[in-house]
Symmetry: C2
Subunit: 116 residues, 2 copies
């Protein structure tokens, strides 16, 4: 792939990954399971991208975490905080609005409407 296209696609992922991750933390998930879960939903994310993101979300108090060591493998679970639910709701609302607009802009001059 053209390196420039790859770079531009990375920019497009910024912010979008935050939304995708927050959307799957209404119920507790641990890091590795999020990678799998999101992959099933069509959102591919590397561990090297997810863990720093989870770290930032916790720092921003959008999620909380706890260790579950009852299994042979200790796992760190993350879940939306109250504040995180509010922020997620607003972000999701803005995302829907802005994406619909950009979709309209990008659909101009093309006969097809791929969301239909």
């Amino acid at each position: 792939m053209d390196p420039l296209i790859h770079s531009l696609l990375t920019e497009i992922r910024r912010g979008n990954l935050t939304l995708a991750v927050l959307s799957q933390l209404r119920s507790p998930q641990y890091g590795y399971s999020l990678v799998q879960l999101l992959k099933e939903l069509g959102v591919v994310i590397e561990q090297s991208t997810l863990y720093p993101l989870l770290r930032r979300l916790e720092k921003q108090k959008l999620v909380t975490s706890f260790w579950d060591k009852s299994d042979k493998r200790p796992r760190k679970y993350y879940q939306l905080s109250g504040y995180g639910e509010e922020v997620f709701h607003q972000l999701r609302k803005e995302w829907m609005k802005n994406t619909k607009k950009l979709y309209g802009v990008l659909s101009e001059g093309e006969g097809e409407h791929e969301f239909d």
Copy 2:
């Protein structure tokens, strides 16, 4: 607005603005007219954001430019290059695909489908 939400929305705009601008350069446009045109389409962008972006796009050879000094006001027109059209087409395709997926993810657990 919560500064964190503002910051996250800025991240979401990255990449998206590139697509919006490229989409309006199939025909030549000058900077200031792009601001107005995009505003009409619901994509609000400041001059302080647009001009550096146009500069970068030209540097990346996605657009070409020429001065029109026939009017009292000299204007710098920009237009998609051949390469830019290719890149735009691919980006737009990827954006549609990825956005549809994220839309599906964000619509889970909500009864409504706002794109319908």
